[in-house]
Symmetry: D2
Subunit: 92 residues, 4 copies
């Protein structure tokens, strides 16, 4: 099942932003700015990659496992919402 | 839905092992052994907590979302198995 | 070199708090409360263990590598303060 | 203090490799390959970013805090080597 074009656009925008952040790290390494400043740039890449991991996992759950808003079984819908909360908390 | 008693026993054993590791950290802090050795003990707690997170999340998926081995919809069973792989890779 | 008793008391208090959190996880597993609630308890253990890792690493730097406030070499003092910032950002 | 050109080349090569991995993620998102496969690509970015964090932190310690191989104070050299071990274990 393919994602909606809205979701695809959002994920692609996240991917482009991460590429921009990685290019900033490369320029910083090239320019030999202070290590501590490069490390802060790298930490921001790490945060963005974790955010993309959480978002992709959530999309995978909604599209390939259970879509909680369309699920007729109330227990399963609830369990899926709880799982999405866990993914947001633990992967970010 | 409650877990099987086998799963419960396994999770409880993990919990007890983590408590034992934390008690070792406390004794190490009390005895003022070298920082680096305490840090290695703390790193092992961290690994064990991540392992428990992954195992609990997998149990949650199997019991409250989709049990892939009993799921008649093949796509959903496959998507769930992929999700469990992601959880094992990303949470551990 | 041993830590001051103030630092030791603070680290021991952190260790005890983590043990209390792990015992709460064990009780939750025993009582079979919902997976999602247990996972939130486990996530709080993880946060606390990461906090202890960062604090122990900072203490190790201050006591066994360079104490930035007592360091006569200004560049080294600055580099050490930057390192402590990195540890606080990346290990927590 | 600037790094040696050998270290700089090694860090730049890591940066370029991460950019290549991020571009692969972008292509995968564009091509709508399966979520699970994209997630494995993202997990490899995460590993590479953690590796860069650990290596940059180690370089920072060696160049701006204490160079353990040139340090006359044996305790300080030992404490620094232990710190580098912690960084390699906990940041990767």
């Amino acid at each position: 099942m393919s994602h909606t074009s809205r979701v695809k656009a959002k994920l692609l925008a996240r991917g482009r932003r991460i590429r921009g952040q990685v290019e900033a790290v490369e320029r910083a390494l090239e320019a030999e700015i202070g290590c501590a400043d490069v490390l802060m740039l790298v930490a921001s890449v790490r945060g963005a990659v974790n955010g993309l991991t959480a978002e992709l996992t959530e999309e995978h759950i909604r599209h390939h496992v259970v879509a909680p808003d369309d699920e007729p079984d109330a227990d399963r819908a609830c369990g899926t919402r709880e799982l999405i909360d866990v993914v947001r908390t633990c992967l970010k």
